[in-house]
């Protein structure tokens, strides 16, 4: 397996790991958004609570969720390792004057992926503490639907989004994720060697729509819940 470890530790191999974990997280975001939009169902939280119960008890989903945690950690730690390497490669001297021209991506996002990613990582930690950990610890009120008792996660979310500070925190975090995706989506394909004038314009267009639509979808949830409290 020497060739395999060589590949994974090479500059291109490290980037391939970033690309594959990134694409996995991109797919996850769509699933997560679809589930979360049930918070706005207007049924007092029944659909969302039953969905949350299913997601935390189904063995297949649980297995995938462990893959997801591993994917997030791998993407984050590999990203930091690459960031350190790149700083070393740049050397101790900065340019006194630097013009940042790019050819076909968002220049701000592209050159700040590590910072954007670090903010997202902190966001994920707070986000998990607020909802996931409370659910795990059983620190949530229970509700009964048709004789079945489930945790009232909707109630916790609604209570959290009564606080304007948290609403702003979530919305700003989604802007950061949008920038990260604006570069990351199409960059993942380039790293895998998928760049061709036949389909790259399509990938870039889908990436732009995705990077705006998905974070926007997440951001409207706290806004609507705050306004309709």
């Amino acid at each position: 397996m020497n060739w395999f470890t060589n590949f994974l530790t090479s500059s291109i191999g490290q980037k391939v790991v970033m690309s594959l974990t990134g694409l996995f997280l991109i797919v996850f975001l769509v699933v997560h958004l679809t589930g979360n939009l049930q918070l706005l169902a207007g049924d007092g939280g029944k659909a969302f609570n039953l969905y949350a119960e299913f997601m935390t008890t189904n063995p297949l989903i649980k297995t995938v969720s462990y893959l997801l945690y591993a994917g997030i950690l791998l993407h984050a730690f590999q990203g930091w390792a690459i960031w350190r390497k790149n700083r070393k490669a740049r050397g101790p001297h900065r340019y006194a004057v630097k013009v940042n021209r790019v050819a076909g991506t968002n220049g701000f996002a592209a050159s700040n992926m590590a910072w954007l990613g670090t903010i997202i990582f902190v966001f994920i930690l707070i986000h998990l503490y607020q909802f996931w950990l409370q659910m795990k610890m059983g620190a949530i009120d229970m509700v009964t639907y048709d004789g079945k008792e489930v945790a009232d996660l909707h109630g916790l979310v609604a209570a959290t989004y009564e606080n304007l500070g948290f609403v702003i925190f979530y919305v700003v975090s989604m802007v950061v994720i949008a920038y990260h995706l604006l570069h990351g989506f199409q960059s993942a394909f380039q790293t895998l060697g998928l760049n061709h004038r036949k389909y790259t314009p399509f990938i870039k267009a889908v990436g732009k729509v995705y990077a705006i639509a998905v974070p926007l979808g997440f951001a409207i949830i706290p806004i609507i819940m705050y306004l309709s409290k």
């Binding site: 500059s11 291109i12 391939v16 740049r90 006194a96 004057v97 991506t105 050159s111």
Partner: protein, 250 residues
Amino acid sequence: MKLTLKIWRQKNANTKGRFETYQAEASPDMSFLEMLDVLNEDLISQKQEPVAFEHDCREGICGTCNMVINGEPHGPMQGTTTCQLHMRHFNDGDTIVIEPFRASAFPVIKDLAIDRDSFDRIIQAGGYVSINTGQAQDGNAIPIEKETAAEAFDAASCIGCGACVAACPNASAMLFVSAKVSHLAHMPQGKVEAKRRAQAMVNQMDEEGFGRCSNITACEAECPKEISVEHIARLNREYLSSSVGSQVKA
């Protein structure tokens, strides 16, 4: 035209450098290097140390006239090397900041002159085609599609100047290496060693301490030969396929 030049002066690799300010006179017809030549003549006549900068062909094909001018490798003109940049693109009274390319793998030798041996070692690792000596083969005996030849030629126009590394916030050499790998991978003569080449050149690039490519595309924007990052995607493909498909064991 009168110019204020802020130029990075550094005695050698082991000393700390700093910016020095000079007043220079230039004609709009001069090339950027000719403007520096005149400055150096003045410095020599004043018994001062002239500014060290590299230059050779002065016609945009050797890739030695490397410097960062006002924050851009080879200056503000698209698809132009420093030697082909003319003073008519600047205004009378301008302040121009001139720095060396900055990357760990490109240490400063003196002032604006940098050591680009790392690029030579990458070429030595695999940027060649092994052929038997003897009578040259008839050109028409090796058919190559027009589009393929054109793509290979685009990649081959890389002059190895290192502007890609200088422009990249990660100091990555991927555009340079990809141009070489892509050029030879397109040609029938290069196919024989394609898998070994991709592995060897990427390994050498990593060993020289260049950064990891984040697809920022500053390299393409600043490349004096306007080489596309499509070649980087091709290098990624070549490297991936040679990692899983090469007959070479290691």
